[in-house]
């Protein structure tokens, strides 16, 4: 037993130790400032074109972005890549301007043009300094309304696209994304590579491109955002003048809703010269306008959102297996997938897959802690200020609402809606999507380095990289079953 004297000595020693090890803590934050989101003005032209104007007078700059509410999901079944090739040709000639005239006009005034097609949308944007509004409206409306698809330009873009597709076939990151998409979205309109396949791009004719353009590039299927140093009244006037004569031709086809993610399977694509393995795990997700979307956003933030999320901590901070581990919701008009992704050095492939699956199972099996919930909510709410910092940010946040038919006050109500979610609701939303019998695993790497261990995960389908056909539903050319072994 200790004498009282000794006890006092011990106490003193403890106090000294505590004092010398005293940790300093970060100070309190300042009181948060209220975030006032800019209110976009909306006008619908008689032809159905929705025009959104947002004034930002801090810099002498104006950005216009026209979005057609149809993208790669509207590609004809045999012609993946149509939406992208059509959008790439917008800058390459109109009925009155050649490709060279367009690029010369834009470059001379220091303009910046960008056109492309994604899922659920095709877009073209043009940024100019603020004394070139007249030319900008003229050029953008001309490119959108009078695209000419000149055969020589079609051939040029076709060759460029084909060369690009040849290059990315050797990029394991691209191959893994495309293969996961193929399998996870099987049976939906979102399953093919959005930039097409070598076969489909070869097959496409000018008529195919023109048909897509006629079907979907119509004012009733489009939204125009005008942001920057221009008065709202002037923006609307100029939009009416330049886009008022744009007419609707037909009613665009809308793809039918379709559930995604089939039964569990594991696919390994062999790339013998790889030093890392790309890993993708696809789970069920939700369409963008699902009532569960916000709860899943919070769950996704916890599982694999920016910075130190669960996947990142398990795979990088604790084990040094990777540089990056993350998850994201691929949420579209009619389908959704919840994707987890990482990569690791070849010998650690199976261990990394295990650790990632463990985190997904943990999300499925165990409730979310109050602290994790608060951190995720804090991020999503606080980050709005950064999302709305630039003209482009304001435009894209607003266009997202119009593309997915969400209410225009969505972002104003976002903080309260996120804050209202309970840990229980978030967990429930996540649990429903993370059934292990539904996930799809895709690996791209040097099989010889991990093949034996991989079989412990269950039946695995192997395909050599050279035999992968992104145009086929099963990723192999024949309709029959893929070989179990190389």
């Amino acid at each position: 037993m200790r004498s009282p004297k000794k006890f006092v000595f011990c106490l003193a020693a403890t106090l000294i130790a505590v004092f010398s090890l005293a940790h300093d803590f970060p100070p309190e934050a300042l009181p948060p400032k209220p975030l006032v989101l800019p209110a976009p003005a909306l006008r619908v032209l008689p032809n159905g074109l929705k025009v959104v104007a947002i004034e930002r007078h801090s810099l002498p700059l104006m950005t216009m972005r026209l979005v057609v509410k149809s993208g790669a999901e509207s590609d004809p079944a045999m012609l993946p890549g149509t939406a992208q090739l059509v959008s790439a040709l917008l800058t390459e000639g109109t009925s009155t301007r050649s490709a060279s005239q367009i690029s010369q006009a834009i470059d001379s005034i220091g303009g910046l043009v960008d056109a492309g097609a994604d899922w659920d949308q095709s877009y073209i944007s043009l940024s100019v300094l603020n004394d070139h509004e007249e030319l900008a409206f003229d050029l953008l409306s001309d490119m959108v309304m009078h695209s000419s698809f000149v055969p020589a330009e079609v051939e040029r873009k076709r060759q460029q696209t084909l060369s690009g597709l040849e290059v990315v076939r050797d990029d394991p990151d691209y191959v893994a994304d495309a293969a996961l998409r193929r399998l996870a979205f099987l049976g939906t309109a979102y399953s093919h590579p959005e930039d097409g396949t070598i076969a489909s791009v070869r097959r496409m004719t000018s008529e195919d491109l023109r048909a897509f353009y006629n079907n979907y590039y119509q004012p009733s299927n489009a939204v125009l955002a005008i942001v920057g140093d221009i008065k709202t009244s002037e923006a609307f006037e100029r939009a009416e003048k330049r886009f008022g004569a744009w007419t609707n031709r037909t009613t665009p086809l809308v793809p039918a809703p379709s559930p995604a993610v089939g039964p569990h399977r594991i696919l390994a694509i062999d790339k013998p010269d790889a030093v890392q393995t790309e890993i993708r795990i696809g789970n069920l997700g939700v369409p963008r306008n699902s009532p569960d979307y916000l709860a899943l956003r919070v769950a996704d933030q916890i599982l694999g959102g920016p910075s130190e999320n669960r996947l990142f901590k398990a795979l990088r901070s604790h084990q040094g297996l990777t540089y990056e581990a993350s998850s994201e919701l691929l949420s579209y008009q009619t389908a959704g997938v919840w994707l987890a992704k990482t990569f690791t050095r070849t010998p650690e492939t199976v261990k990394s897959v295990h650790l990632a699956l463990e985190q997904i199972k943990r999300m499925h099996d165990h409730p979310i802690s109050a602290e994790e919930l608060a951190t995720a909510q804090g991020y999503l709410i606080g980050h709005l200020a950064l999302d709305f910092e630039t003209s482009e940010g304001v435009a894209s946040q607003t266009l997202e609402l119009l593309v997915y038919n969400l209410p225009l006050d969505y972002w104003n109500r976002f903080p309260e809606n996120i804050r209202a979610l309970t840990a229980e609701e978030v967990w429930n939303a996540a649990r429903q999507r993370l059934a292990p019998e539904n996930n799809i695993i895709v690996l791209v790497g040097d099989l010889s380095g991990f093949e034996k261990d991989l079989k412990k995960l269950g039946p695995v389908q192997f395909i050599p990289l050279a035999e992968v056909d992104f145009g086929s539903q099963e990723l192999v050319p024949s309709v029959g079953r893929a070989p179990e072994r190389r």
């Binding site: 970060p26 400032k33 975030l35 002498p60 001379s108 040849e166 901070s317 200020a385 910092e389």
Partner: protein, 463 residues
């Protein structure tokens, strides 16, 4: 930028500045507002630059340490960047994963990067978080606490980063090969990521010395841009950074300057890629020197936009290349001006090189028209304006001007240097730098197409 030659180094975006500027043929003026910079130096040597910007309730904080991969000695390559990672791994006050957690839960984002010349840590957060972020940065400037286990873990993470950026993607090693051969003594010869061999051999005991040499207030510059009250911000800087001890002496720079190149160097690589390619690197002067400005304009004339000369010739008219670009990697010491192209199927690097040569010859023998030069200047003005859109890009430019160009006010004055360039300046720098004996060429052949005669493995190092 190319998605194929993913940059080990990317040319920084053009800096912004205030000026009155008349666009060609149009009499309306596009004016940029003046950036007011508050500069201060603490008694411990820490420099700080503050800019108020209330466009959005956000703030960007950056700490620039004037140490990069050019401060590394042979056998210790990759050390500056490895150290950047360790700065997130805990201090005597906060645990290994807590730094970013503090930033994230407010809605902010944070990260860091290392270049040849500097290591930069940054956070962009709601402006209410400013005291928290300043405390966190001050804390890790002097209280880092790294265990052997954490060090070993971080080394493995960095090796994965090397595999990700260099060893695994197609064309990933091309730029590394170019620098290995273009430089013989200057440390720009090696990539910031370092070699796998040196990363394997990095030791924890080297850490303390590196930290005490470079991570000290008198080797650091603090940049804050955004929704702040200057007086309040200044007092926070004093409160959190003021007590940090300065180093007794500043690090001595041992960098050996590169002797002029006297003969063209050619490297041939056979890679597992679908299309042949080539990169040419011409030695050019450091950023901020008089020739840097016409060189950057020349780069725009050659390849900015679809009406530019190299794009026009190789991609559009002749259709021999998938993409073709030029870009200067402007840094604190003299670096390289690149021209590169990825050839289409059936076309050789030699064909592309001949077409590039024709364009460079044209630049040397014929003066650029006023319209074409004006086009390049308009593009630069546009980039100045675009870089002002976010507190983060404003912070990037301010830190770069203060630390690398050694004059923060260049964010206001540098545009004038671009606008002063004449057609004769463009011609002069083209004649001076775009010559064969100043060039290193890397040709990439596809492994299946490369005959044994055509391609050979790169020789290690340039010495």
């Amino acid at each position: 930028m190319s998605r194929i030659f993913s940059p080990a180094r990317t040319a920084r975006t053009v800096v912004f500045a205030a000026a009155l500027f008349l666009l060609s043929g149009i009499c309306e003026a596009v004016t940029l507002p003046q950036t007011t910079i508050r500069a201060l130096t603490l008694p411990n040597g820490l420099q700080a630059c503050l800019v108020e910007d209330h466009q959005a309730p956000v703030v960007n904080v950056q700490v620039w340490y004037h140490v990069g991969s050019k401060n590394e000695v042979p056998g210790r390559t990759g050390f500056a960047h490895l150290f950047e990672h360790l700065m997130f791994d805990g201090t005597t006050n906060i645990g290994a994963e807590q730094f970013s957690d503090y930033v994230i839960r407010s809605g902010g984002i944070d990260n860091a990067y290392t270049t040849e010349d500097s290591t930069v840590f940054w956070e962009t957060t709601p402006s209410s978080q400013l005291p928290v972020v300043l405390w966190l940065e001050a804390d890790r400037m002097r209280n880092l606490d790294i265990t052997e286990a954490v060090f070993d873990n971080e080394r493995q993470v960095v090796e994965e980063e090397r595999r990700l950026r260099f060893d695994n993607p197609p064309y990933g090693t091309v730029v590394e090969s170019l620098y290995q051969h273009a430089y013989t003594v200057h440390p720009y010869q090696h990539m910031t990521i370092g070699s796998m061999h040196d990363l394997d051999n990095a030791k924890l005991e080297d850490i303390r010395e590196f930290y005490d040499t470079y991570y000290v207030p008198n080797n650091a510059t603090l940049v804050i841009v955004g929704d702040l009250d200057p007086q309040e911000a200044e007092s926070m800087i004093g409160k959190y950074f003021g007590h940090l001890e300065r180093a007794a002496r500043l690090p001595i720079n041992h960098v050996q300057q590169e002797p002029p190149q006297t003969a063209k160097r050619v490297v041939k690589l056979a890679l597992n890629v679908a299309l042949p390619a080539f990169v040419e690197g011409y030695h050019m002067p450091a950023d901020g020197t008089p020739d840097a400005y016409p060189l950057r304009l020349a780069s725009n004339i050659l390849s900015e936009g679809e009406s530019s000369r190299i794009y026009r010739r190789l991609v559009y008219d002749k259709q021999i290349a998938l993409e073709a670009q030029s870009t200067g990697n402007f840094t604190e010491d003299p670096n390289l001006f690149f021209v590169f192209a990825v050839m289409n199927q059936g076309h050789t690097p030699a064909e592309g090189e001949a077409e590039v040569e024709a364009e460079l010859t044209r630049l040397k023998t014929q003066t650029v028209g006023d319209d074409e030069l004006q086009k390049a200047k308009n593009q630069i003005l546009r980039d100045f304006i675009l870089s002002r859109q976010t507190v983060q890009t404003r912070g990037d430019e301010l830190g770069y001007a203060a630390v690398i160009l050694k004059d923060a006010n260049l964010v206001n004055t540098e545009l004038a240097r671009f606008l002063a360039a004449t057609p004769a300046d463009i011609q002069r720098v083209a004649q001076k730098y775009f010559v064969a004996e100043n060039m290193t060429l890397v040709e990439v052949y596809t492994k299946s197409a490369a005959g044994d005669k055509q391609a050979s493995e790169p020789k290690a190092g340039g010495r």
